[in-house]
């Protein structure tokens, strides 16, 4: 190659490295959070239970993005596309095929895994801004694809599909909302534990090696292409499960529910929660669910501005998101204990 016409760039890593240990909460804290999540719905109204369910679902989607970005250092602004595919898979299987809602979720996960893996192939050659751009375009195009006349028989076109909400099985004495909450909670915990183990495994170390220095990773024998697409696939698969759960919880799927706004929200959730810190996913999810609501209370149409301003504050004041806050809190508690 002739050197004259080329730019030579020494590129900084896209994401700041997070040590493996700093990815999770300690055992004690985890149990307290878990206890709170199990007990909370017993004391609140149905609408709040629904919101808590959505909190877990978006939390899953943010977690998926976190595995991709915090784990392997690739971005995606197109998670809403995978979420939509998962939601539509569940909805179509339930309404057209008559399948049980619980069975549709693994199928949604597998289909999205395949979709993500295939999309990851061209994405392999892209890094940084180019990847952000390709996934951004995917998110913008997705609602249009869902509206296509060709699929209309299955997807319901612009009108979308109505999904029936499942009852609690085995005659358990709880409402639909509460059952769905516990159902979601079990799946979320399962996926959370699996994700933690994934990132601590051999594959997880390969992801992080790629994140920190791709060339060094390949020199050490990591199959960069395979692990990059794998990270995309796993992330898309988990997002698909979240999408399926979302369709069941909201009882409705329509193209306009899965616009670029959703993709941006998930991305913000990850940044606010702290990139690479898995428990931050729930914090980020709370941010993207409750902040727009509060902003709408102040003034209609203000939510975007409040969102943006808060995001800038996070970037400038606590660049590592909730993880940084957690670390500071931990140090404060440690000091208090000493005194």
């Amino acid at each position: 190659m002739s050197a004259a016409a080329e730019d030579v760039v020494t590129e900084a890593p896209a994401v700041e490295a997070v040590p493996k240990r700093a990815m999770t909460l300690g055992l004690g804290t985890s149990l307290v959070v878990l206890g709170a999540l199990i007990l909370a719905p017993l004391f609140v109204k149905n609408f709040i239970i629904f919101q808590m369910t959505m909190l877990l679902i978006y939390g899953l989607a943010v977690l998926a993005l976190n595995i991709l970005t915090g784990g392997s250092g690739q971005f995606s602004l197109g998670q809403s596309a995978f979420y939509a595919v998962g939601a539509y898979t569940s909805a179509i299987l339930m309404e057209h095929v008559g399948m049980n809602y619980a069975l549709t979720l693994p199928i949604a996960g597998i289909i999205c895994f395949a979709f993500g893996f295939v999309f990851g192939q061209p994405a392999l050659r892209l890094s940084g801004v180019y990847l952000a751009l390709a996934t951004f375009a995917l998110a913008v195009a997705m609602p249009q694809l869902l509206k296509l006349g060709f699929f209309e028989h299955w997807t319901g076109g612009v009108q979308g599909l109505v999904v029936t909400k499942p009852d609690a099985p085995f005659g358990l004495p709880m409402g639909q909302d509460m059952w769905l909450y516990y159902f979601t909670l079990v799946i979320t915990i399962g996926i959370y534990i699996a994700s933690v183990n994934l990132l601590r495994s051999r594959s997880g170390r390969a992801f992080m090696a790629i994140r920190d220095n791709e060339i060094a990773a390949s020199a050490m024998g990591v199959d960069v292409a395979l692990y990059k697409t794998l990270a995309f696939g796993v992330s898309a698969g988990i997002t698909g499960v979240a999408g399926g759960l979302g369709a069941i919880a909201v009882q409705f799927v329509a193209p306009d529910g899965y616009t670029i706004t959703l993709a941006i929200s998930l991305f913000l959730g990850m940044v606010v929660g702290g990139v690479g810190w898995l428990p931050g996913s729930i914090v980020g999810s709370a941010f993207i669910i409750f902040v727009p609501n509060m902003a709408e209370h102040i003034s209609k149409g203000l939510s975007g501005a409040v969102f943006g301003v808060l995001l800038f504050l996070v970037i400038f004041l606590v660049p590592h998101g909730a993880r940084q806050v957690a670390i500071v809190a931990q140090q404060l508690i440690g000091k208090l204990k000493k005194n």
Binding site: L77, P122, V140, I264, V271, V275, L311
Partner: protein, 292 residues
Amino acid sequence: MELFTNQVLAGIATGAIYACMALAVVMIFQAIDHLNFAQGEMAMFSTFISWQLMQWGIPYWWAFLATLIISFVGGIVIERLLFKPLAKAPILTNVAGFIALFAIVNSCAGLIWDFTIKQYPTPFGSSPFLGSQLISTHQAGMIGVTLGLLIALYFFFQFTRIGLAMRAAASLPESARLVGINTSWMIALGWGMASAIGAIAGILIAPVVFLEPNMMGGVLIYGFAAAVLGGLTSPLGAVLGGFLVGVFENLAGTYIPGVGNELKLPIALALIITVLVVKPAGLLGRPIVKRV
């Protein structure tokens, strides 16, 4: 045949707008190596400013000029306040910043001018151009303004001290600093110019897509597609890409069955991905080599 010529000419007209957007995207990419996801929203906001000025009774061309100046200053202010502090931050933080800007600008436009669709005047009129049925005077005006802008930019970058300094700051910042160029202000200047170019694109496309806060969503994606096709490192490539994307979009919509209007955005997506995979540097861009 007449349908074909018609579509090509209409494609060149919308392509002119994509070229402007792509040019604005490339200006910022050259300066700071990031894609400005808020470019479309900034252009939309500028267009609203010009509309407001006209509502207050200022004549079209004066409003146009005032908007360019306001946008230019606005772009510089945004860079100084928000993005200069992020210059050393990881890419992820920058992307988050652009998205935050996107949300703020979009929401503020909705708050100030609400989300109803507004008519936007054209200074060229909409009668057929020079008596031909192929192209309207507004479309001809769009092409004319874009070409004028291009020539002006070419002279600016080729023959003025400050244009040369900007190019130096973009290609070799360290060396530029050594010869006494204030690279930091050159970046701010790039933001200002990108913002003004975006404003021109917004003002020209507003009579076609109508004025509302979400008007630039699709245009921005085409602008990105054009910039990627032409090469993110080449302003000339961006313009060429803009015209090609415009023509391609129109022809695909007319001749490929089943594409029509509903598949136009997915076409832009397919175009972006294909170009990035086949020739990541674009048609006229320089290949980027990583040093380990």
